[in-house]
Amino acid sequence: MSSRTTLIVGLVGLVAVIGLTFVLDPYRNYQLATIAAYLCVVAGLTMLTGVNGQLSLGHAALAACGAYCYAFTANGLAEQEVTGPVLLILPILAAVVGAAVLGLVVGLAAARLHGPYLAGVTLALVIALPAITSRFSDVFNGDQGLYISVERRPEFLAGRGGTEMFQAWVAIACAALVVILLRNLMKGNFGRQMRAVRDNEVAAAIAGVNVARTKVIAFTVSSAAAGVGGAVLAFMTQSANPGAFSLVFSLFLLMAAVIGGIGTLYGALWGSILLVVLPDAIGSLTKSLSLSPEVAQRLDGNLAVGLFGAIMVLVVIVAPLGIQGLLRKGRLKMQSRGTPQSVPVPK
């Protein structure tokens, strides 16, 4: 797609989604906000893994870092009796900076590692997170986590929509910013460098790409995006606790990127939607089956996890480009049926 079409599609989509917040009920608005929050993290992950070839299982920990930075800053500001937009924007910026710094540290190590080694290190990072929060529980308040004073919805919204609507707006704004920045980064010169490093490090180095620097920058940017996602989640739930950023969450993020179509921002969007919608659909399905409470409790969550895992395996084997790849293939087929002379060549 040309830049102009992307711009138009993006703007129309953004307006449509914001319009949607006015008609949805509070619960659906909350889900919409969750999708937007996930999109921030998954978009960063899809760039790192799909475009730059670095597999991270630690994005839950990076998002957690963002959430805790948000919590500390927001609570600090609230103590100083700061209110208004500052109480919202400054903590998010703090989350970005905090996650980016942690990402820089991990990224410096990651630049020297390949495939499974990097995956192992980032896996250890996620496992270590609850250990750190419970060891320094006077700071992080252990497993319970921190309560956060957040900015309430502005006064002018009072009659028109609930807190969830405001949350959705904030989340959508953050996701839009992240996606626009990542898109420009991926389309530009740096995106080419990232792809060159992914495909062949030696060739990239010979062509004048600074391999280590490219990897470190990619990891740092991706971490910053994860930090935004963590901050939005913290803002929505008014809490930051290690349980919300577990290993399973990390795997879910990877799954969203893979199932949606790794390396594409549209894929990140499909994946994030699936991540929220599928468990919800399965939940209502099991509820409608009127199972015994014990069976229902066992199915709750597990069924979604298993289904996600199975889909991920299938995608890797059958359709490595994910949902976005399938959509693209379908579109190309339709176009070629219309004008058989000019079959567009997929990049």
């Binding site: 250990a131 996890v305 890797v316």
Partner: protein
């Protein structure tokens, strides 16, 4: 008093490390057979341990459970390799990692659906209280049992790969699948065999370690896998002796850290160790340089 505590922690660490070494060995086995770090290994071992739990609960016999875990582990390894991993394209090395993570989620979900997400207590075949005739060292009968199992596994693997025909074929298939096939080795079958062997080993490790400290639950091997991965990396993914020595060293280190600094810090210590080793010697301490890179 200080010395006694130090001795206790060291011996305890050796016992834990021996088990982790077996787990790390299973990772090394699959790496050598198929050049894959199997991220679903922990889940396979966990599922096999559930099988042992069911059999032991039904029959009241620990040893039947042990056999069930070994056979069940091998069977799950067979299914995962023949059903999933064989079809994953090896063009991109990330594919196999992602597929293994998918398998991990499926297994955890199935176990969660069958048994619930709660903890199940497991029985031990021997007591965990220190033996009187080894006073001062505080070694329990169960520790001795663990050491015996680990010793048996290590010697068994050394004989298998060093002395037997099958072991030679497995090494050939891992080293160069195409060439081995030309020479009459059924490479695919050998890779499957490697998976089954490795899965049975990790099942044994999980069965030894889960009852004592973790408790049986669908996520009980998450941390164990990270420890074993660290050990395998510290030892160099290709080296079986490296995995054993690395396992003992990491076990003692973890025991010291949790004894002197607090039990919750073990995962952090592992993270630090892993980073340190990978940054200083990315191939692992026992790795040998095969070819010049870049």
């Amino acid at each position: 008093m200080e010395l006694e505590r130090f001795l206790f922690l060291t011996v305890d660490g050796l016992a834990r490390g021996a088990v982790l070494a077996v787990f790390a060995l299973s990772l090394v086995l699959i790496w050598r057979a198929a050049r894959i770090v199997n991220f679903s290994q922990g889940a396979i071992a966990m599922a096999a341990t559930y099988l042992a739990f069911v059999v032991t609960s039904a029959t009241g016999n620990y040893w039947l459970g042990l056999v069930a875990a070994l056979l069940g582990g091998a069977a799950i390894g067979f299914v995962v390799e023949r059903g999933v991993m064989r079809y994953v394209s090896s063009v991109n090395p990330l594919n196999s990692v992602i597929a293994a993570l998918g398998v991990l989620l499926v297994i955890q979900a199935i176990i969660g659906m069958l048994f619930g997400n709660g903890y199940h207590p497991m029985k031990l075949p021997f007591s965990q209280s220190p033996l009187p005739w080894l006073s001062g060292l505080s070694i329990s009968a169960y520790d001795l049992f663990v050491f015996a199992c680990v010793g048996f596994v290590v010697i068994g693997l050394a004989v298998l790969f060093g002395k037997t025909n099958v072991g030679l074929r497995m090494r050939a298939a891992a080293f160069s699948p195409e060439l081995a096939r030309l020479l009459g080795v059924r490479s695919n079958r050998m890779i499957t065999l490697g998976w089954m062997l490795a899965s049975a080993l990790s099942a044994l490790a999980a069965l030894l370690v889960i009852p004592t400290e973790l408790g049986l639950n669908p996520h009980s091997t998450d941390a164990v896998f990270v420890y074993a991965f660290t050990i395998a990396v510290v030892g160099g993914l290709d080296s079986a002796p490296g995995a054993v020595i690395g396992g003992l060293v990491v076990g003692v280190l973890l025991s010291w850290v949790s004894g002197y600094l607090g039990a919750t810090l073990s995962p952090v210590a592992v993270l630090v160790l892993l980073l340190a080793v990978l940054l200083i010697k990315p191939g692992g301490i026992f790795s040998v340089t095969k070819e010049r890179t870049a």
